[in-house]
Amino acid sequence: MNLTDIKPERAPRSSSLRRQREQKIGFGLLTLAAIVTVTPIILVVVYVVIQGLPAISWEFVSAMPRDGMTAGGIFPAVVGTFWLTLGTAAVAVPIGTAAAIYLSEYAPDNAWTRTIRIAIINLAGIPSVVYGLFGLGLFVLFLNLGTSLIAGSLTLSIMTLPVIISTAEEAMRSVPNSYRVVSISLGATRWQTIKRIVLPQALPGILTGVILGLERAAGETAPILFTVAAFFLPRLPQSIFDSSMALPYHLFVISTQVPGMPVTIQYGTALVLLTFVLVMNLIAASIRSRARARRLW
């Protein structure tokens, strides 16, 4: 609904003109704020597209890098980021959803659960490089997984969990409680109620959180820096214990570490990463809007 569509129902009184002027000024300021917010996003996208588009070709995304990465493609980095995202999903989605079910449906409201919630909120605020260091200490060195896809996925999972848990819990909490009472009153157990009523209703919200979390994981550089990423590795990972190239780290490397790097390749890589993330975002948005249209409450 547009604010300007609202018209006074009765004839304007003396103060009405002043109030309308106030409304116009207020509306103008709000529009300005919106424009200021959106402009940088549009500029970033447009700039990356203009700079990177010439590099994009089928060969660019499907070939190995050549000549010290100054030519050829970025295929291993694309594959690496794909596997990392998938690995993160495999770990973070089941654990995150289960934790959210516990917090929303089972946990009593006491000091213990409040502590868990505060911890989750704080985890979401930890800088990603700290996760990277933690992953290096725990997964790479202590658990002796080496710099590998699995160490990277686990590190990214820990970083993603808070986002997934809090959105999933929120989605489940917004399912009306009356559904639960009715289900229980018909002889369902708590778990049957969760499985048949709460989860299906909360699914779009949960999926949105999952995709937003994974999209952050896909784009992060710091957590994979110490745990998985290879500077230059012109072959595909053969198992989850292999290290791999990944798009964000590759972008960092070719932008800062390689002299004489063609700018189009840098921006081409950025464009591929941006597209990857934007597509995930679009999927999340479409799930959300489709669910909203279907929702009965």
Partner: protein
């Protein structure tokens, strides 16, 4: 046996009894003995209720809001387990078990004592799925059995003719009155022994209300019904046994319409005649 009971009930003298002298019911389906319930927020509670619920009758619990009627219903099928109950005392006997016993199987109990709430809450699924939900969670998956339950329960709730051609449509598309009858049918699909109705017609128009009341008269042939009515008029229209609740106490109870024509206590008369509440 059943005939005997009906004869006895039919000839029951129309006398009223207060809480200190409990009304005697032959072969009650539920016997409530000195039941006290206190919620931890101290909001609504029940104090020392003794009441016998007759089988195959409509037992009406009425009185002003906050009197403990809903608390009693929620105690009977253990929905109070979901609430914060501070104190629970007394006994509620049903088929040889004490419903207050924390060890009883509440899952099967809730199948045998069904409840319909004031606000119709249809589950976010189709009409058919709403009706088969209770059976399916119990492991009944045979299509024929489920179809039979759907038709039978909708017939009993006087809804079959209105929805038989759109069983696979969303239940949320039904009108308020239809939704409430669907909620009733959903309970009937489980073939319970006792049906608890908590102001089932409070949100309905007079025509829908009439339909629900009409189905109740049919249903009491096969089920024992405990009804919290939404008005004194409805209480008087439907009661085979009426119990007047005030501030957590059972003030007075009587068979038939006696409580509405010649109440024994002033409090009851004042409420029935509309002086308060």
């Amino acid at each position: 046996m059943v005939k005997d009971r009906q004869m006895i009930l039919g000839n029951m003298p129309e006398e009223t009894t207060s809480a200190d002298k409990p009304l005697h019911v032959d072969n009650p389906v539920i016997s409530i003995e000195n039941l006290s319930v206190v919620y931890s927020d101290g909001k609504e509670s029940l104090i020392d209720i003794t009441l016998e619920i007759p089988a195959n009758r409509i037992c009406v619990l009425f009185g002003p809001a906050g009197g403990g009627k809903s608390t009693l219903l929620r105690t009977l099928n253990r929905l109070n387990d979901l609430a914060d109950v501070d104190k629970l005392a007394g006994h509620v006997w049903f088929d040889g078990m004490d419903l207050l016993d924390p060890e009883i199987d509440t899952i099967s109990l809730r199948r045998r004592i069904g409840i319909v709430f004031a606000r119709p809450v249809v589950l976010p699924m189709t009409i058919r799925q709403n009706l088969t939900y209770g059976l399916e969670i119990e492991g009944v998956h045979k299509r024929a059995v489920l179809d039979e339950a759907v038709e039978r329960s909708l017939e009993s709730a006087a809804l079959w003719d209105e929805v038989k051609d759109r069983l696979d449509d969303s239940a949320a598309a039904l009108s308020g009155g239809q939704q409430q009858r669907l909620c009733l049918a959903r309970v009937l699909a489980l073939e319970p022994e006792v049906i608890l109705l908590d102001e089932p017609t409070s949100g309905l128009d007079p025509i829908s209300t009439g339909k629900v009341e009409e189905s109740l008269q049919q249903l009491k042939k096969s089920y024992s019904i405990i009804l919290v009515p939404h008005s004194v008029q409805q209480a008087a229209r439907t009661a085979d046994l009426a119990a007047f609740f005030l501030e957590g106490r059972l003030v007075e109870s009587a068979f038939g319409k006696a409580l509405f024509t010649k109440p024994r206590l002033d409090q009851t008369r004042d409420y029935v005649e509309g002086r308060f509440g």
